[in-house]
Symmetry: C3
Subunit: 222 residues, 3 copies
């Protein structure tokens, strides 16, 4: 993990499944002194992963920036801008920001690089970008800031992914391709050329067969 | 490995390549006392991976449930029901069943989770389900029982894969999708919506170019 | 690493990004005594990864085969034949050839198997073949000589990939498929049947939406 020592308390913002993942990865990295925070009124339960939840308005009392470092663990809502806004708010309050990532993979702030993500030689991950397990970031490829690289996405070597862009599950980007800011690359989509900012690429879901599986394996025994 | 200590003898049912994989993974996990069993008449050779092969009818004499734990290492024939039937038969004979999986990934019986499979935070693998190397099971996703998740398949977060279902090589399932029981998702297929039980999804193989590779690289130098 | 001990000097041929990857992997494997060589006139700068660069004509003076083992770290130009030709030239000069690969994965010469590549039980990688991080080589699959298996490519079990063939990023090959020599399988292509030598398979890039991402997330909030 980048940033504070394992004994420094960490504030995790977020009350959903992304926060659960970040908390688990932090614990596996040896961090045990964790506090969870959500926006006022958004605490669905009183605890998450066994941790108490405080509300944003009570931050100063329970997890001051004098004692706590912080991490924003939310999804890609509003094309990653919700996460960016919360990050900026915490920085304005004076929090130092950590990343959740194996040491060698990232020196950015508020990045999450899953331990099962592959970051090849010379690749770089920007601040507030999340790279999920099973994703591959090719050699010398740069992921901008505030991106979301889903599980199983493969980005070849020498690419650039623009700020705020989203790559869906299993998306493919071939080598030396530049993807502009604010792009959405759908699940399983194949991108072989540069894309201007704001481009949306959506692959078609596969066709459903008219046969059910019982009939299918009668014709095509498996 | 789940179950017995490394010194307890293990009976592996199966005489093909799947058994070879299971035997190798068991050995890498420190298990050395292995016996292989096949159905009567199905022993193609006298040994597999250097191990002697016994026939089903001789189980009691050579690998009793009083001494041996068991694992069924066969493929997805009859949509995983052949493997399930053999597992039930061994359980009826009194065998305790192990799984072949890194400790932290699975607590089910007769599951195989390859050491290179990715099982994200909060994911669960059902009994008698096989997850191959290079497959990714997303956070909080549940794989039912008796499934087959092929190499390179990527299942995003918060999904559910129904019992007996088969996902082919490189298949993609986007987040929060529920796939019913007995589904067949072909190699490289992309699934973005819930599927009822018994659904078959088959992607098209890619088109073959009219150019051979010598002409191709003349036009598109690589 | 296969071959010489970590103290033996190694000559790396190549001055581009592939050489940078090989140098980094060699260093992570404990090799520190590295010399880089390029063809006469091809040294773009005086150093690469901090190492001095010598030209081919000066090999005998600076990195003799009596002292140095060698590795050719270039791309797939001319369908992997440029790399093969350089390898043959170094062998003719008397160099012993190493591979850059975790010990257990490969015993070939001049193979590069990234540490994040998955090589399943019983798979074999031929000499001068490169397998990138995030690629999966299925159980009992054989990769021929002089191949290039890109990041995120998934080859199922019991396949054979012919000499000199190229698999692009995220390409998929289903089980028991034989791909002939000199084939080009494009990024994201799906191959389910045997292919004769020289076949080219190219998948279509995905379609670009008419909507930009700002409009898109208004209609489909993410």
């Amino acid at each position: 993990m980048k940033g504070p020592s394992r004994s420094r308390p960490i504030l995790v913002f977020g009350g959903g499944v992304i926060a659960e993942v970040a908390i688990e990865e932090l614990r596996q990295g040896g961090h045990e002194n964790l506090t969870v925070c959500v926006d006022k009124g958004y605490a669905a339960s009183s605890r998450i992963q066994g941790l108490p939840i405080i509300e944003w308005d009570n931050l100063a009392n329970h997890a001051s920036p004098l004692t706590h470092a912080a991490f924003v663990a939310v999804g890609y809502q509003n094309l990653n801008r919700f996460r960016k806004d919360k990050l900026s708010a915490l920085q304005s309050l004076g929090y130092s920001i950590i990343s959740v990532t194996p040491d060698e993979k990232c020196s950015a702030e508020n990045a999450l690089v899953a331990k099962e993500a592959i970051v090849q030689v010379g690749a770089r991950i920007g601040s507030n970008s999340f790279v999920w397990g099973g994703a591959t970031v090719g050699h010398h490829t740069e992921i901008g800031e505030n991106c979301w690289i889903s599980s199983g996405a493969t980005i070849a070597g020498n690419c650039h992914i623009g700020d705020f862009s989203f790559l869906g599950v299993g998306a493919i980007v071939t080598h030396e391709v530049n993807i502009g800011a604010d792009c959405i690359i759908g699940a399983g989509a194949i991108v072989t050329r540069d894309l201007p900012a704001g481009t949306v690429v959506v692959s078609k879901p596969s066709t459903i067969s008219k046969m059910n599986s019982t009939d299918f394996i009668t014709l095509f025994p498996i």
